[in-house]
């Protein structure tokens, strides 16, 4: 696993930060961000895809009342692709009975989707070698977040209660001279502390957080980040050598 990774630095892979407005569609925005990134990396073609199509055409009805990333991928598979944002623009509210998928050309499509193991090393490896992944976390500490690496006390952010889907786009390490751990005396000289972090793309607009992104401590499943690491597959399956189980 490389020491750092940031897909934002490769032009055309990560689209602009979106804003949900008053629509609970983080699940759709995370899924679309994942497909856009995977498509750009594997097909060397930058696309911006339609979130609105997922809200209108999903099998769970009104997409603005919340949803699941896997349902987004199933909708894309069922519709054999996804229209572009330009053709089928975001409106901030769902029209479940007016799915316009058949009216628009497909700008991208996926072959499959998969959930990765709940292991941060493996997630980092996949992120670095295949591209961005959707994750679903406990958003308890995001509302008042402004910047920096979020590292809530381990018990403060329940990893089992995940309620917000975002896109994992990179990881790295931050140096910090501040030591806020319990028992750290302010007056003592402190060695610099290296804090591993994930970089995540949120969907609350660019004025929130670090230009729409936030960083989360990496290494102890902070806020449940390893619970549902999901990604679409956009490249054709590579022909595998046949294997046979020994008798």
């Amino acid at each position: 696993v490389p020491p750092t990774c940031d897909w934002r630095k490769l032009n055309g892979v990560i689209s602009s930060v979106k804003k949900q407005e008053s629509c609970n569609c983080c699940w759709a925005m995370a899924a679309v961000g994942n497909i856009e990134a995977q498509w750009a990396i594997k097909h060397h073609q930058s696309v911006e895809l339609s979130v609105q199509e997922l809200l209108d055409c999903g099998r769970c009805g009104d997409g603005c009342r919340g949803g699941f990333v896997w349902d987004a991928f199933i909708t894309v598979l069922n519709n054999s692709g996804l229209a572009s944002e330009r053709d089928y623009p975001f409106q901030g509210k769902a029209k479940p009975h007016r799915c316009l998928a058949k009216k628009h050309k497909k700008a991208a499509w996926i072959q499959d989707f998969t959930m990765l193991q709940d292991n941060e090393q493996k997630i980092a490896w996949y992120l670095a070698t295949e591209g961005p992944i959707t994750v679903t976390i406990n958003m308890k500490f995001l509302r008042q977040y402004k910047k920096g690496v979020l590292q809530p006390p381990p018990t403060a952010c329940d990893p089992m209660h995940v309620d917000h889907s975002v896109l994992l786009v990179g990881f790295g390490k931050a140096e910090s001279a501040v030591d806020r751990r319990a028992g750290a005396a302010a007056s003592q000289p402190r060695p610099k502390r290296s804090i591993p972090f994930w970089i995540l793309k949120n969907s609350w607009g660019a004025e929130w957080g670090e230009k729409g992104y936030f960083r989360l401590y990496r290494g102890n499943n902070t806020c449940g980040i390893t619970k549902y690491p999901l990604t679409a597959r956009v490249d054709r399956p590579v022909k595998k050598r046949p294997v046979s189980c020994p008798p």
Partner: protein
Amino acid sequence: GSLRSQDPGPQPLELKQVFTLFQIQYNRSYSNLEEYARRLDIFAHNLAWAQKLEEEDLGTAEFGVTPFSDLTEEEFGQLYGHRRMDGVAPDVGREVGSEEWGEP
């Protein structure tokens, strides 16, 4: 900026001044004085909560005024919340589209 970096001053900004800056930055307006007072109260509560979060955070995170600082926890949950995903993931075993590979 972060609460922590607010140097004492001559004096820290009055809460109302900070709230006015928030209103300007995020283009907020309130229909009447009662609503204004209620939002100011929520804002003050959120700022106090943000200070507590920052004191407890073990990393380098800074908390403070965000676009949601005049919303209660409940209002924020309704706007940006999500279906609870803990517990058992719902059954996703459903036939999926056509089996051909490649083009749609």
